[in-house]
């Protein structure tokens, strides 16, 4: 298949765009730079679609007997550590999930590129100075993210983990003149770097025992060897757990950092300081699912380590609830959406972790359902969450504020945005026939199969999702009549910004009908999926309850929310303050690391160690000054030294002789 071999160009074009726009683009007019950026992305998107289409529906080596195969069309030895023992390759791996991710990334990225033509053209009325830099950074991010999903081995994945981290840093800090953006970008980078440290340690442990980095290609031709090495390492234990369990848990922590799992989630809400299209692309649709993707990539290994899976399961289920609880009280619409993202990613994580891989039929469903559901939700969530963020961007652009108190009653002013946002809300709440219904339903089914408790817990969170999304929706578009400030009434935005909204809204309507079970499964074989009516019915009912509650509380201005807030004051404040996690981190970094470790070390260095060497110098110096006085030039002095010296010598000689 010719076209599959050209996957490398999907990466090469954005990389070229980055270099071109970064080096040359700044010399060109802003409009032209933007158009070049969008066109470049358009070409990439078309190519990616062609590749994904060929992969899933074409004839060729990728599908043998109805089973999707892993293909490696490009492979390049980048760094050989020693001889050919331990080698880092950079390459392209095509399999169902990477083909799917190509589509997701390119679609959202293209929409964001187009949308940004309008959104980024001015900044509070002035032409945006960093317009060219913005497009260059977007291209860099797109390149890194695409590189991440096509990684052929875990080291390549680590490399691109770092790359997306940096592009995210650059884009969060896009308005670098503003202090909050500056702090947020720093925080995002350092928190995810901390997670990457664990990822690295995990890689070191795993590669030490198995002597290879190619863990991803385990389904491929060398799969057997790697599997054997892995299972033999499983027998070794360290502090009561198997070394592979440690390694996989560490690797999961790396993913948890990018995917904002509790307690490493704190960077994501702050990351909303970046331009809103960036939030849509990076912090809602693509980069934040990197952790989920990582676990999915290594799924065949994770299923062998139930301990690691249990940890993921607990972390995921807790994070889903925790973030949903916070999303219920936030007043900044982007932050509310950010917590909603955290909660939804936690859904995907949990779904992966409840999945099992053995071939036995469980409760009428095949194993691997959770895996499929997770990928399905990743796909649909990317579409509707990007939609929600782009709508939020249009609203923010219109009213110049992130606070919902400055919005209210926008429905009349921005009808297209309002309808698009409603579609997004319905999709995320899980109302049929919108996309989220199908994927969330599969997740819930998978959870109920793991155990009734898991299922009920996740259903509850799904209900909360419906509640907080419609709370946001009503507070933006209804609640009370909009008060027009300044000269211009808010209105729908220019076509460059509206078209992406419409496209993504359409996708959110239909994406649920994609036959995911046939296309994306952990072992490439089609998975029979049935609509589980009891679960589906129950989850729709719960969603409707959530929506109903939100309608009662927030549809029209009324004192009920305030009353509830005062009734449960402690709980409400805790949720509004995000359960004081930021304060805790502040305490750890400032009080403990800076004041408690760095300051004392710096003091120790300057005072004790340097002091010692200075002392050495000073003692030598003062000793010389002392001796110097003896060279007085006075003959009497010399004679007396001579006599004293001679007597001392005589005395010593005498003592020595007597002793002998």
């Amino acid at each position: 298949m010719e076209i599959l071999n050209s996957t490398i160009y999907v990466l090469a074009i954005p990389l070229f765009m980055f270099l071109f726009l970064g080096l040359v683009g700044t010399k060109m007019p802003r409009k032209i730079t933007g158009v070049i950026g969008v066109l470049g992305m358009a070409v990439t998107t078309v190519l990616a679609y062609a590749i994904a289409f060929t992969y899933f529906f074409g004839e060729g080596p990728q599908k043998i007997d109805g089973v999707y195969q892993q293909l490696v069309p490009t492979d390049w030895t980048w760094l050989s550590f020693y001889a050919d023992k331990l080698v880092v390759r950079l390459g392209v791996l095509l399999d169902p999930i990477s083909a799917m991710m190509l589509v997701v990334i390119c679609t959202v990225s293209f929409m964001v590129h187009l949308y940004s033509l309008g959104y980024m053209s001015d900044h509070d009325g002035n032409p945006e100075k960093g317009f060219q830099r913005y497009y260059a950074d977007l291209a860099l991010f797109t390149f890194s993210m695409l590189g991440l999903v096509v990684s052929t081995n875990i080291f390549q994945m680590f490399i691109f983990f770092e790359m997306v981290g940096v592009s995210s840093y650059l884009l969060i800090g896009f308005y670098y003149g503003l202090q909050p953006a500056n702090h947020a970008s720093k925080k995002a980078f350092i928190v995810t770097r901390l997670a990457d440290l664990f990822f690295l340690i995990g890689i070191l442990i795993l590669s030490y025992y198995t002597k290879t980095f190619d863990f991803i290609n385990i389904m491929g031709k060398n799969g057997g060897e790697v599997m054997n090495a892995f299972t033999s390492a499983q027998g070794l234990t360290f502090m009561g757990c198997s070394v592979t369990g440690w390694a996989l848990t560490f690797i999961f922590i790396g993913g948890a950092g990018k995917s904002a799992m509790y307690p490493l989630h704190i960077w994501l809400p702050d990351a909303m300081e970046g331009p809103t299209p960036v939030s849509a692309l990076i912090h809602a649709a693509t980069m934040v699912v990197a952790g989920v993707f990582l676990v999915a990539r290594m799924f065949p290994l994770y299923v062998l380590e139930q301990g690691a899976m249990d940890i993921i399961c607990v972390v995921g289920a807790f994070t889903a609830f925790y973030a949903a609880a916070i999303a219920c009280t936030q007043s900044d619409i982007k932050r509310a959406l950010a917590f909603s993202t955290i909660s939804q990613i936690a859904f995907m994580m949990t779904s992966l972790a409840v999945s099992s891989a053995d071939g036995a039929l469980i409760g009428g469903h095949e194993a691997g359902l959770g895996y499929m559901a997770s990928m399905f939700h990743l796909f649909t969530h990317a579409m509707f969450k990007a939609l929600l963020f782009l709508c939020a961007g249009a609203i923010i652009h219109a009213v110049h504020s992130n606070e919902n108190s400055k919005m209210h009653g926008l429905h009349k002013f921005m009808p297209i945005t309002s309808i698009a946002f409603l579609i997004g809300c319905l999709a995320i709440a899980g109302i049929p026939p919108f996309a989220g219904f199908f994927s969330k339903d599969e997740i819930l089914v998978a959870c109920y199969e793991k155990g009734l408790g898991w299922g009920l817990w996740m259903s509850m969170v799904a209900g909360m999702t419906a509640f907080y999304m419609f709370r946001i929706y009503y507070l933006i578009f209804f609640w009370k009549k909009h008060e027009v400030h300044g000269e211009h009434a808010p209105k729908d935005q220019p076509w460059t910004m509206t078209v992406p909204l419409i496209v993504l809204a359409l996708i959110s309507c239909v994406a649920g009908f994609v036959p995911f079970g046939d296309l994306v499964t952990w072992n490439g074989q089609a998975l029979e999926t049935h609509m589980n009516w009891p679960v589906a019915g129950a989850s729709v009912a719960i969603a409707l309850v959530g929506i109903g509650l939100a309608t009662v509380m927030y549809r029209k201005e009324n004192p009920l929310p305030d009353k509830l807030a005062t009734m449960f004051k402690g709980l409400w404040t805790a949720s509004y303050k995000r359960f004081y996690m930021d304060e805790l981190y502040q305490f750890i970094t400032h009080k403990i690391i800076f004041q408690g470790i760095s300051k004392p070390i710096a003091w120790f260095d300057r005072t004790i160690i340097d002091g010692f060497f200075n002392l050495l110098g000073n003692v030598t110096n003062s000793a010389s000054w002392g001796i110097r006085k003896m060279q007085s030039g006075s003959v009497q002095g010399y004679v007396s030294y001579y006599i004293i010296g001679a007597m001392l010598l005589a005395a010593i000689t005498g003592v020595v002789v007597l002793c002998i």
Partner: protein, 506 residues
């Protein structure tokens, strides 16, 4: 003479000719001084690239000698001192690094004032020493060139420096001389055990290694002497305190050359002399120095977190990064040692870049205190972007040199069978987070945010010579980061002899 047919000797002859050329120029003739300096530096770069070509060609033709281009000329018969030349992969890349840093350094000191002629004279004398050290395989000539490289430092800092320059120059010189004293003892000790009974003593590294005649009990004394002697220059804890003060006072180009090349003499010497000649003691005592260098890595990074002077931040960051070089050398396997050399290259280039940029910023704002600056990205975008790139290289962004070097070191170190070393490796990996903390702190404070001092608004961005200087270094950093295998292929085989020696005494 036979020696002049060896290309290596020209690495010493070119700086000496440049010195002569400079001596002929007039004190005021700044254009002539610059022309001579640039010519000399360019010739060195060209020759270094040619050397890489020759080296690769020789290896490609199947030349598997430990050292190629060997020549030996007797210099002082009674003590059997020779001018012995020869290079392996490690020295080749070190020479390449030095050439590029000298080149960038010349452009960074374009507007040197006062006494530009004298400045460049000392500058090239220092370079002579550096190149001489890397091409020698004779202990005596190595030591001699080593001293030639150290002494000019005193004058370069003392005369052209800033701040508390007399104190710093004195401290730096005395501490490094203290190291030299240990080193000289070590070298004399090695000389007297360099051959079995009855055979003539020698100073030639390769012959000493081949004779393998240093008794184990003597190795236990001589190894610490030489390792500490070089370790002082490699900023090993607790002998690193000359570095912050020295760098803070040194003029830009001197900081560049010092951090970029001179500190590498330390790592190179530890590997070439201490470990190669005394493998038994290295195996026995390695853990002590491993602990010290492990401390350097984390300690330097933490210290850098709270500094407010740009140069102090980079000096402590160098302690951390150079600690990693010695740390990796002490892991005694191919991968980690290759990583150590890559780290030397990477650290040399990016620290030189840092110091160049700091010098340029200081030349404009007249302060290095990050509390007094802010928002410089708005005013000098070129320097700002350069600083961010240097920062990314330092914190290990893939595609730049730091990542490749650190990953090679971590993977190599973790390969070691010994549990102690693996735990220490994990401790060392934490530095990647701490590095991110201090780098981003500086970038955030210095470049981002609002412009803090309104006087800074009138400042200009980099001019042409400054751009040449920084762009050269940035390109080098990116090349290593993108195509590491090219360098690894040059370096790797050079470790065969030393690893073989180390495993034979296990």
């Amino acid at each position: 003479m036979e020696i002049f047919s060896n290309i290596l000797i020209y690495f010493v002859i070119i700086p000496v000719l440049t010195l002569a050329g400079l001596a002929l120029t007039k004190n005021k003739g700044i254009d002539a001084i610059r022309a001579v300096a640039v010519t000399g530096a360019t010739a060195l770069v060209a020759l270094a690239i040619y050397l890489v070509y020759i080296f690769l060609k020789a290896r490609g033709l199947g030349n598997t000698d430990d050292m190629i281009l060997q020549t030996s000329v007797t210099w002082y018969e009674p003590l059997n001192i020779k001018l012995a030349l020869g290079v392996d992969g490690v020295s080749v890349v070190m020479i390449l690094l030095s050439a590029f840093i000298v080149f960038a350094g010349v452009f960074a000191s374009w507007k040197m004032d006062p006494l530009p002629k004298q400045f460049f004279l000392w500058f090239f004398l220092l370079s002579t020493g550096v190149f001489g050290f890397f091409i020698s395989v004779d202990l005596f000539t190595m030591f001699m060139f080593y001293e030639v490289a150290l002494i000019p430092m005193y004058l370069l800092i003392g005369v052209w420096g800033s701040g508390n320059k007399n104190y710093s120059a004195m401290k730096l010189t005395l501490m490094l001389m203290g190291g030299s004293a240990f080193l000289m003892l070590g070298i004399i000790g090695i000389y007297f055990h360099s051959a079995p009974e009855g055979q003539p003593l020698t100073m030639n590294l390769l012959e000493i290694a081949k004779n393998d005649a240093i008794p184990h009990n003597w190795q236990m004394y001589l190894f610490p002497l030489t390792f500490v002697g070089f370790g002082v220059l490699g900023a090993m804890f607790p002998f690193h305190t000359w570095s912050p003060d020295g760098h803070a006072s040194a003029p830009t180009a001197v900081s560049m050359l010092h951090a970029g090349v001179l500190m590498k003499l330390g790592g190179y010497g530890c590997f070439r002399i201490a470990i190669f000649l005394m493998p038994f003691a290295a195996q026995q005592l390695g853990w002590i120095f491993l602990t010290l260098t492990g401390i350097s890595i984390v300690y330097g990074a933490f210290s850098a977190c709270v500094q407010t002077d740009l140069k102090y931040i980079n000096a402590y960051s160098s302690v951390s990064h150079c600690g990693m070089v010695l740390f990796a050398i002490l892991m005694f396997n191919h991968t980690a040692m290759t990583g150590a050399v890559l780290q030397m290259l990477s650290h040399g280039l990016m620290t030189a870049l840092f110091f160049a940029l700091i010098g340029m910023i200081y030349g404009r704002t007249h302060t290095r205190d990050i509390r007094e600056m802010g928002g410089l990205m708005h005013i000098m975008p070129y320097l700002g972007v350069g600083y961010v790139i240097a920062g990314f290289a330092s914190l290990g962004l893939p595609g730049l040199s730091g990542f490749v070097a650190e990953m090679t070191i971590f993977v190599g170190s973790f390969e070691h069978q010994d549990m102690f070393r693996r735990v220490l490796t994990i401790a060392a990996t934490t530095s990647i987070v701490i590095t991110a903390v201090y780098i981003l702190r500086v970038v955030g404070k210095l470049l981002y945010g609002a412009v803090q001092n309104e006087h800074h608004r009138s400042l200009t961005d980099a001019d042409a010579t400054e751009r040449i200087s920084t762009a050269t270094l940035i390109i080098c950093v990116a090349i290593i980061g993108c195509f590491p295998n090219f360098f690894i292929n040059i370096i790797r085989d050079s470790f065969d002899p030393v690893v073989k020696a180390l495993t034979s005494v296990m």
